[in-house]
């Protein structure tokens, strides 16, 4: 039950986040230098994509290791049961 | 915890120390030699010493002297003696006795150290009261922290290096505050400016002593 609620909440987060992003494109005062040109060119999406790819590799590796460890834990538990 | 047992324990620490004078002599010699080395290094080309440098170097010498003298408090105890004391006294009394003894030792060493230091390198301290309060609080802080660290390090194999590794990061807050208070004393600021620092320093010392008293019983169980 906990898992279902948490996944629903995180999906809501993503929806809320993307709404935030799209609604935030208003005209801004240009007295302070910001990366406006980067955004205007759409190059900011390159930055986002690159970091996302890096993190995807990292999280995939974490999940793989997790699965590996879970397999060993199961074997240990079976070995303990059989020894009893 | 019984006060009479505590006083007997403190008495025993002094008695042991005075019996083998070479231990006390060793600490004093360390102090004198380091002060002399600093004196030679600084007055190499008749250079004058800046008050900030004076302050910093003084407390660094005190720090190293403290590490070396207080390290002895647990490391040099023979195994049998320690076990014997554990059977007749409560651990709180043992660690409190060592902390009190080390505080007295540190106060003595700091006073002698400051005296010698002022003789060779001058004494820019204007506000003596602030300086003394800061030094006494510093002595207390050094003693409390280093006694606990010594008890921890004595259980491991590499105890002398471990004393420094474990002790220096923990002593840094106390050292920083003491440096600030002495700097205020040198600059002849009235004592009001140092109240905050002294309060924080006392708080840190109280926290250190309390946590040592709480944690030491768990340490001696494992010997």
């Amino acid at each position: 039950m906990f898992k279902k609620i948490s996944t629903v909440l995180t999906l809501l987060f993503i929806i809320a986040g993307s709404l935030n992003v799209t609604l935030a494109q208003e005209a801004e005062k240009t007295s302070v230098d910001m990366a406006d040109s980067l955004r205007a060119d759409g190059k900011i999406y390159v930055v986002v994509l690159v970091v996302m790819i890096v993190f995807t590799f990292f999280s995939m590796y974490l999940l793989l290791t997790d699965r590996h460890v879970k397999k060993w834990e199961k074997e240990m538990k079976e070995m303990k049961e059989s020894k009893k | 915890m019984q006060w009479k047992r505590l006083i007997v324990l403190i008495h025993k620490e002094f008695a042991i120390e005075l019996r083998q004078l070479y231990a006390v002599g060793g600490m004093l010699l360390y102090l004198v030699s380091s002060i002399f080395v600093i004196y030679m290094a600084i007055t190499l080309k008749n250079a004058q010493i800046h008050p900030i440098t004076w302050n910093a170097v003084l407390w660094i010498i005190m720090l190293f002297t403290a590490v070396n003298s207080i390290a002895k408090s647990f490391v040099q105890e023979k195994k049998g003696m320690l076990l014997y004391f554990y059977t007749i006294c409560s651990p709180v009394e043992i660690i409190l006795a060592k902390i009190i003894y080390n505080t007295i030792l540190m106060t003595l060493l700091i006073s002698i150290g400051i005296l010698l230091y002022s003789i060779v390198l001058g004494n820019p301290v204007q506000n003596f009261i602030t300086f003394s309060i800061g030094s006494i609080l510093g002595a207390l802080g050094f003693a409390a922290s280093f006694t606990t660290i010594s008890s921890i390090a004595s259980k491991a194999s590499n105890s002398s290096t471990l004393m420094a590794i474990l002790g220096f990061p923990i002593i840094l807050p106390i050292l920083l505050l003491v440096l600030k208070i002495s700097k205020n004393a040198i600059d002849d600021l009235p004592i009001n400016n140092s109240y905050d620092d002294m309060l924080t320093l006392s708080a840190i010392v109280v926290i250190s002593i309390t946590s040592s008293l709480l944690l030491f019983p768990y340490l001696w169980k494992s010997s």
């Binding site: 302070v32 997790d66 | 491991a156 590794i165 708080a203």
Partner: protein, 226 residues
């Protein structure tokens, strides 16, 4: 907590939070401030990772206390592995902070009390690892390092929290600088900052928990062979 470590749902929550941080962190509208310009977004990385480190170190101390009270090996395993990952996050925090400082404050390292305090904290935990390595017997190792962990934590807390506020500092929120609220945190940034803290802490927690599980398996194997 052992049961929590073996479940998987929170790991996906963590991954999603970090993805959200990455996407929204770069694309969200940031307040336009002098000196900082776009680097305010580092809030979601540098500061969030510091918070995550702190959470992990607090868990480590709590489990050290638990070990002293119960003497269960698993508690000591948790305490030491969480301290280890806390050190890793601390190093990440210091390096990201250093880069940020180079481009906003002008230098890779400045004489700032918060920087000094966190360096001391890292030194303390590295000394903790050295202490653990220099004791042979397992039970003594666990007990003595637990005592050091608790003592060092109580000595460090006033340093990290109280001293920086009392002195001049370049960090926001200390020494007369405006706190976080001045950076418009109550508008957009908060929506990404809190999930970022959650995401990075869950990630750190996951890394530490993996190490705990591997250590556990090792201990059980050694136990079996005996």
């Amino acid at each position: 907590m052992i049961r929590l470590i073996e479940q998987s749902w929170w790991k996906y929550v963590g991954i999603i939070m970090v993805y959200y941080t990455i996407i929204a962190g770069f694309l969200i509208k940031a307040p336009r401030l002098d000196i900082l310009n776009e680097t305010i977004r580092n809030l979601f990385f540098h500061v969030a990772i510091w918070f995550a480190m702190f959470i992990l170190l607090i868990i480590s101390v709590v489990y050290s206390i638990k070990y002293l009270l119960n003497s269960k090996t698993i508690h000591d395993t948790i305490a030491s592995e969480f301290a280890r990952i806390g050190i890793v996050l601390g190093l990440i925090g210091i390096s990201t902070g250093s880069v940020w400082a180079r481009f906003t404050w002008g230098d890779w390292w400045v004489n700032d009390p918060k920087l000094n305090a966190t360096t001391i904290a890292l030194l303390i935990y590295l000394a903790y690892l050295v202490l653990r390595a220099s004791i042979e017997s397992d039970e003594q190792k666990a007990r003595i390092s637990a005592v050091y962990n608790i003592f060092a934590f109580t000595a460090m807390i006033p340093l990290v929290f109280i001293l920086p506020r009392m002195t001049d500092s370049l960090h926001p929120g200390n020494g007369g600088n405006p706190g976080f609220n001045a950076y418009d945190l109550d508008n957009n940034l908060r929506k990404v900052f809190y999930p970022a803290v959650l995401g990075w802490s869950i990630l750190g927690f996951w890394l530490a928990s993996l190490r705990v599980r591997i250590r556990n398996i090792k201990e059980e194997l050694i136990h079996h062979i005996d």
